[in-house]
């Protein structure tokens, strides 16, 4: 299988996660190519071993539900197929996609992680593996276990990566007097920080997740039924890279966000419910930038929050006039 894979993959010049929501892109011959699965259904294997409290069978059932959550998005064309149990490890580069527990004490702050192998000539994902760190206690209880991390919730997040989605910055945190940082709320399953044990609510996707996966794998009337807001963020006339741009729909209450991803400070937020949106621009000055962007990007976090001074209208089936938001330095 490995030698076959060598033949399939021309080159892997995987680059940074840079696109709305964020999607993963590769750059080949100067062209940016979105990384995604191109053949459905996507076959996946479950590792044939469990951890205390979660058998391999429990694991497979829980992860299957997480896959089903993404597959149920009506505006996205994706499907998955469980291919069986395997003794392979999620870290193997073997041409099959494996999900399973793995002990990784060296990542003692990481609950789970997703890796890729991509055909750089097409952007097609050839293999994607997900490991769940077995040094943590896990649960597949329907109601959650206050002493354990909910496997299905973490799986929903990781499968978002598996599909080609990056992290969302739609989240709020607080820090207490001892320095402990706690997540207060999130507008996306793809927010990268854990809430802790026992919480099961990330089993359900939020509008930002749905817009992200639908833009990547559009189905039916997604593009004709939703709208786009485009624009530019600048400081003293110069484009701002890495600004977090949020569209809030006061009618639906939905929050969908993206980043400025070019040196010109351009952004695009697709998958919006047609109608007016409030646009807020903020710096990613409270996060691990490396969790969102490639290190080579000149991310600017030294500016103040700003709002577009008018409502931005996302017309059905297209984009409105590009908007411009000027931010001020801190």
């Amino acid at each position: 299988m490995r030698s076959l894979l060598v033949g399939i993959i021309a080159a892997v010049l995987f680059s940074q996660p840079l696109s709305a929501y964020i999607h993963f892109n590769i750059t080949e011959r100067g062209q940016s190519i979105v990384v995604k699965w191109q053949r459905m259904p996507v076959r996946w294997f479950a590792k044939n071993s469990g951890v205390p409290g979660v058998t391999a069978s429990d694991f497979q059932a829980s992860v299957s539900r997480a896959f089903a959550t993404w597959q149920a998005v009506p505006t996205a064309s994706i499907s998955f197929q469980f291919a069986g149990f395997t003794g392979a490890e999620p870290s193997d580069e073997d041409g099959i996609s494996v999900l399973g527990f793995q002990s990784n004490p060296g990542m003692d702050r990481v609950l789970g992680a997703t890796g890729f192998i991509v055909d750089v000539t097409t952007g097609e994902i050839i293999e994607s593996d997900i490991f769940f760190n077995s040094i943590f206690p896990w649960s597949t209880s329907a109601a959650g276990d206050p002493l354990r991390f909910d496997l299905e919730s973490v799986a929903v997040h990781e499968i978002g990566h598996f599909l080609g989605l990056g992290h969302s910055a739609l989240g709020e945190t607080e820090v207490d007097s001892t320095g402990d940082r706690r997540v207060l709320a999130s507008g996306a399953v793809m927010f990268p920080i854990s809430f802790g044990r026992g919480v099961t609510r990330d089993r359900e996707l939020q509008p930002d997740d749905i817009a992200g996966v639908s833009a990547l794998y559009p189905d039916g009337d997604f593009e004709s039924d939703t709208g786009v807001v485009r624009g530019r963020v600048s400081r003293n006339g110069v484009g701002v890279v890495g600004a977090h741009v949020i569209a809030f729909n006061p009618e639906t209450g939905h929050l969908i966000a993206a980043f400025t991803l070019t040196r010109n400070g351009d952004f695009e937020i697709a998958g919006l419910t047609p109608g007016p949106h409030i646009i807020r621009v903020e710096p990613l000055d409270d996060g691990d930038i490396g969790s969102f962007f490639d290190a080579s990007d000149p991310i600017d976090v030294a500016f103040r929050v700003a709002f577009h001074d008018r409502l931005a209208v996302a017309p059905r089936g297209g984009a409105g006039d590009a908007i411009s938001v000027a931010v001020q330095p801190k």
């Binding site: 993959i9 080159a11 892997v12 010049l13 995987f14 996660p17 193997d92 580069e93 990542m107 702050r109 990481v110 789970g112 992680a113 997703t114 890796g115 890729f116 991509v118 909910d150 919730s153 973490v154 997040h157 990566h161 709020e172 945190t173 607080e174 820090v175 207490d176 007097s177 001892t178 320095g179 402990d180 940082r181 999130s186 793809m190 990268p192 920080i193 854990s194 809430f195 802790g196 919480v199 099961t200 609510r201 990330d202 089993r203 977090h244 949020i246 006061p250 009618e251 209450g253 929050l255 409030i278 903020e282 000055d285 930038i289 490396g290 969790s291 290190a295 929050v305 709002f307 001074d309």
Partner: protein, 205 residues
């Protein structure tokens, strides 16, 4: 539940799309953010406060990346990279005579293959960084919590070296919401950042 209640306040069926005052927009959106009461659950990272990052790291160095080499490791031939840092200053663990420190990251490229682990930072020669590392000889150290264990040093508008983002730390004023764009939280001069690390290291001894 809370969302449904709050959202009802924002229904603007006859909104004048073009004429809202920015102050009103600001108010609306701020309240909307507060209405995001739906908790996110476990995803990837368990956030560590900065004191914990310092205390639990075996080695902390400020330095510049001088080499990144990828290779196949272990019986399952997993692609990893070894990152070698020329030490500018050892803040913890490394001997003052160590001129370089090497750690491994779970990504890299071997031939036509590149392994990318989402959330694992990538490095290039010339990067100036402060890294927080787990493990010690004979094991090769790894980053504390993937991207949590790296602070990159960049030049600000005045070409002064700063660390971005500045660590989110307690200010001793009780529970405090972390607000993006807070003017108080600025890119931190690297000297100040290093002093902060030294202070925590000394306090924990």
């Amino acid at each position: 539940m809370l969302i449904a209640t709050q959202n009802a306040k924002f229904r603007m069926r006859n909104a004048n799309y073009r004429s809202c005052a920015s102050a009103r927009l600001t108010c609306l959106l701020l309240v909307a953010f507060c209405a995001m009461a739906r908790s996110a659950s476990a995803t990837v990272l368990l956030p560590a406060d900065f004191t914990t990052v310092v205390a639990e790291s075996v080695t902390i160095v400020h330095g510049r990346v001088v080499d990144v080499s990828a290779g196949l490791t272990g019986p399952r031939r997993t692609i990893e990279s070894l990152v070698t840092v020329q030490v500018i200053e050892s803040l913890k663990g490394a001997s003052t005579t160590d001129t370089t420190v090497t750690f491994r990251v779970p990504n890299g490229q071997v031939g036509r293959y590149r392994r990318v682990l989402i959330g694992a930072p990538e490095f290039a020669r010339g990067d100036e960084i402060v890294v927080f590392l787990h493990g010690q000889a004979p094991a090769i150290p790894t980053l504390f919590g993937l991207s949590q264990g790296v602070y990159r040093v960049v030049r600000d508008a005045r070409a002064a070296p700063v660390v971005i983002p500045a660590p989110v730390s307690a200010r001793g004023i009780g529970v405090e919401r972390v607000v993006r764009g807070d003017p108080v939280r600025r890119p931190m001069p690297v000297d100040e950042f290093v002093r902060q690390v030294h202070t925590i290291v000394e306090r924990r001894r």
